[in-house]
């Protein structure tokens, strides 16, 4: 695996930060390659916009910042407006359905518009598992980590008693994307 730079963006409450950590752990611990994770801080990151950055690579990751992500997930229009223009040429852009992306960007990237939050609400009755649906779809599309690694990483991080609903959300994420791909 070449260095792959992934940005997950949305708003607080969607579990974006935890999602990023799980993805990074899947790579670092269970797939035994290298990974870093970063998030945004400060008042702007509380209650409002939320961002999670993951780099996955076989090589040691020295420089940990992402300027032009290979993969971007944007769960809100605001996030999409802010970050979609930064996606690399031919990169992957995953958005929640309803999020609009202009043609200029569409031409440049591989766009996947998926009903992520809708699916999350369907699975759990609330947006609480949005992150897992997202991760499922992301990994299905990018294969950036193995599905087993992702599942193991997820289990090690979620609260006891929520295994089933999270597992289901993850599976639905995979399904959403596989249906598309």
């Amino acid at each position: 695996m070449e260095r792959c730079e992934i940005v997950l963006s949305g708003f607080g409450g969607q579990g974006i930060v935890l999602g990023g950590i799980i993805l990074a752990e899947a790579a670092a611990i269970y797939d035994d390659i290298n990974a870093t994770h970063n998030q945004s801080y400060g008042p702007e990151a509380r209650g409002g916009a939320s961002k999670s950055e993951v780099i996955i690579s076989k090589e040691v990751i020295h420089f940990p910042e992402i300027e032009y992500p290979d993969v971007l997930v944007a769960l809100t229009q605001e996030a999409a407006n802010k970050f979609a223009p930064t996606v690399k040429e031919q990169g992957v852009l995953i958005v929640d359905s309803g999020v609009k992306i202009n043609d200029q960007i569409k031409d440049k990237v591989k766009l996947y518009s998926l009903p992520i939050t809708e699916m999350a609400v369907k699975v759990a009755g609330s947006e609480i598992v949005t992150n897992m649906v997202t991760l499922g779809a992301l990994v299905a599309i990018t294969k950036v980590v193995s599905r087993e690694a992702l599942e193991k990483a997820m289990f090690s991080r979620i609260p006891k008693g929520t295994e089933e609903v999270n597992m289901k959300a993850l599976a639905q994420g995979f399904a959403l994307a596989e249906y598309l791909v």
């Binding site: 290298n34 990974a35 870093t36 970063n38 940990p64």
Partner: protein, 379 residues
Amino acid sequence: MKRQVKLLQGNEACAMAAVAAGVRFFAGYPITPATEIAEILAQELPKVGGTFIQMEDEIASMAAVIGASIGGVKGLTATSGPGFTLKQENLGYAAMVQVPCVIVNVQRGGPSTGMPTLPAQMDVMQARWGTHGDHPIIVLCPSTVYEYYMLTIKAVNFSEMLRMPVIILSDAVVGHLREKVVLPDISEIEIVERKKATVPPEEFLPFKPDADDVPPFVSYGKGYRYHMTSNNYDEGGYPATNNHQVADKLLRRLHNKIEKRRGEIVMTEEIMMDDAEVAIFAYGCTARSAYSAVETARAQGLKVGLIKALTLWPFPREVVEKYGDKVQAVIVPEMNMGQLVGEVERALKDKKAGVRPLNRFDGKMITPEQIVSAVKEVK
């Protein structure tokens, strides 16, 4: 605990290492980007019988940590710029009275409250010179989460071994980054405990040093009653405020504690320096960019190497000097307006190599590309 593979945040690694090194007291005050260290220790210390307290400010936090250390327990505090400034007076106290303790400064952008969530390396000179009076200090600086863990243990060890405060200078990048680390088994890590008294109370002089210039540090309340003061003091621990000879001797000894152990304290890594024509001298998060720059430059056939400093103070002048006539130039990238570059210049006073600062102070990391360009400018 066995050798473990983990995805750890830098500040988390620091907190875990503190517990592993035997730290059992933390006093602090919230500040971004250091707060995680407090938060984790608030949770972890009670589990191992230790104490966490959030004090009314950073001055009190530093005081409490020193008080706890005087009580016989290893203590640590963590903060960032503004709090680091407020801790300086008591840091000087610890240096003078020779009380071990560790201060972590997770650097963020200044001046003043500047850019509180963004990284910087602006407190490098302050870490050396921030308090009044003249005393030496040890400052360690991690560039990876793994180093953050290992240097935290080193810091606690140096501090206990030498009876002095030790500073860890990390930054918002290394503090907040989560990355993969492989931690050694705890049994493989050397943990240092402070020296005990070797004479009975009647013969005991609290500041009579051993051959290594370090006096044993004896806990109060066990029969060794004595005094300590931050005024110039004699071997009995009593003020000798106007005694010139005593002052001269004491200050020399404070310096010698470090100088005598330079070999052990000064830690650097030399990466691809063997045939290097240009050296990059870097530390902290900037060393990550530099490493990446070296790889890129080498791939382009440029003979570039990296001197990564893990110890900032005492400054690793011997390592820099060594290359002074071998390389054409030393590039010093720093996330400030030029701080440690001055020490590089001093070290190279009578050497051929030129010195090239590369500075950025806008809250963003220096990129590998910026460094590669700087290398090309030399050639």
